[in-house]
Symmetry: C2
Subunit: 335 residues, 2 copies
């Protein structure tokens, strides 16, 4: 296939606009006019979130395929919608690309985006494609909807609530470490971790179920569990106590941690991009919900306490320590 | 003030989230949760548009201030909403910045964004701020609303309609040329042109009025009038005939064109980023509307013809020539 410089901006748009609408009922105008025209569902609140991925900062084309990159660029936004208890509906995609980029790269990137959009019923309804001599930048904005009663914010946690997560933690960070170290293909344990990093699955169904079943606060785990519980604690004006031995970690993570010579718990607490959900809920409500849901494995990892007790971790020996808020923070210089 | 590396991502968010809500009635959650939560107006269609600006491609920090850059980043999106006949409501802003960027730069950039958002009643409800060693990239997504009856697409132009524009053309392109040439401060004529380039005013009121008064098609002039009428002709399956002597050009443009040794009409037809609107309308309806509107100066520049007549320009001598679609096109190599 051609380079973008031969194809031009309009040729590129023609190439990508096929199969972008997964729900024709809520799109009046998709790609190709000044703005997309969308039909909101009555009596729903609108959700809006945006995320930018920069080459060499957020992704490395030596370890991710364009398809995976496209999938993830949508996933990270869909995850934010899930964390509010909502359903993702529409995406607009901005791409900055060097002129020498092969058209095939863009087509594969869009295939990855279209795959996850198809899974979650999201329409790609517009975008902007511009040239950038300095590398690839992808920005995705996703609009979603939520029933007013099902909206979950960060700020509703109450002392006495349990703290729980929707799945295993640390996989993505360990996967990233393995990708960075190279030669991971030899290890069977590496695959679920690398996959979790490259093509994370946003927890939309779980988020909607939690939203309609009394979750008092919720966050997606994009910057690591420790950082997210600090966010909830701050927004809700509460403290949070986590139990190290309750943090769900798969065996593959523990094996990888041994190879990487780092505590598995570090990946689970401080590693980013798991895109599981952390939420709080009244204990009785949590019991009822977990008993009735065979399709979900949720893990209680702690409890909400009063603000004066701070955010702490009870380690395997029963010692209580302050839990650092560290996680991925842009702009702080790395050591 | 500090560099971003000292401030960190959360310090930065604290710095910019003041004065971001101009209409409290339609925002439930703004900056600071996983996604913004917004209250749509009943029975309106939702509009969504996004634009990305890349340093050294779309802007040059030696000729634009951060304030102007912020203003323009919002303006180009608001213009897309105007072109549909709609009202802009909410914006989310993604910034990729080198770690060495002074915090003051970001504050000034946001001041420019907040200024135009205040003018047009737009809320800044979220965003993403990431590091980028390779320069600055800004992506803005704007969500808007439009009454279903007032929606104007590109595709409704009919043979017999007039073609008109909402203001002078060519200013922005001439302003860009003057900025590139340098020493423009000596010329009085340069100011309105440079201003048109650096802080364009989106035509929201005009767009809404045209939407509610029978415009049959509309486009904002981001890539030059020639390119936009080709877009309308293609989407509407019609031809368009423009008259060179009717294209509105201010005297300052003509003076600048002399200095730059280029026909003024070239700036008006092929220069981008004017962000005026071009629209089509039944002739009788256009007469009624222009007679009743003292606040707007609209210029008839041509007429819609049948598709087989193509897109043409009648020059000052009355010769009919094909009008090239050229305008700004990303990815095409420049000569």
């Amino acid at each position: 296939m051609n380079e973008l410089s031969e194809l031009g901006e309009f040729g590129l748009i023609d190439l990508i606009k096929q199969d972008t609408i997964n729900n024709h009922g809520n799109v009046i105008v998709g790609i190709g006019d000044d703005a997309a025209v969308l039909l909101p569902a009555p009596r729903q609140l609108q959700l809006l979130t945006t995320d930018m991925l920069v080459e060499s900062v957020h992704f490395d084309l030596t370890t991710t395929t364009p398809w995976q990159l496209g999938y993830k660029a949508i996933a990270v936004n869909v995850s934010d919608i899930a964390a509010m208890g909502g359903a993702p509906r529409h995406a607009v995609v901005s791409l900055a690309l060097p002129k020498s980029t092969p058209a095939e790269f863009v087509v594969n990137l869009y295939q990855g985006m279209k795959e996850i959009c198809h899974e979650f019923g999201v329409n790609i309804v517009g975008g902007d494609t511009v040239s950038n001599p300095h590398g690839i930048v992808i920005n995705v904005t996703v609009a979603g909807e939520v029933e007013p009663a099902n909206l979950v914010r960060r700020s509703g946690a109450k002392p006495g609530d349990i703290v729980a997560v929707t799945g295993f933690l640390g996989d993505s960070a360990a996967g990233l470490a393995l990708l960075g170290a190279g030669e991971w293909e030899d290890y069977d344990f590496a695959w679920p971790l690398v996959t979790a990093h490259l093509t994370p699955r946003p927890q939309v169904s779980a988020g909607q179920l939690l939203g309609s079943n009394g979750a008092t606060s919720m966050d997606d785990i994009s910057d690591g569990l420790a950082s997210e519980v600090h966010e909830i604690a701050k927004a809700s004006n509460v403290g949070i106590r986590l139990y190290a031995e309750e943090i769900p970690m798969r065996n593959e993570l523990k094996e990888a941690a041994k190879v990487m010579d780092k505590p598995a718990l570090d990946y689970a607490l401080y590693g980013g991009e798991d895109f599981q959900l952390v939420f709080t809920m009244e204990p009785h409500q949590f019991e009822i919900l977990t008993a009735s849901q065979e399709n979900f494995s949720w893990f209680k990892v702690g409890e909400v306490v009063t603000a004066d007790q701070g955010v702490t971790l009870v380690d395997e020996e029963g010692n209580v320590q302050r839990l650092e808020a560290r996680g991925y923070n842009h702009f702080h210089q790395e050591e």
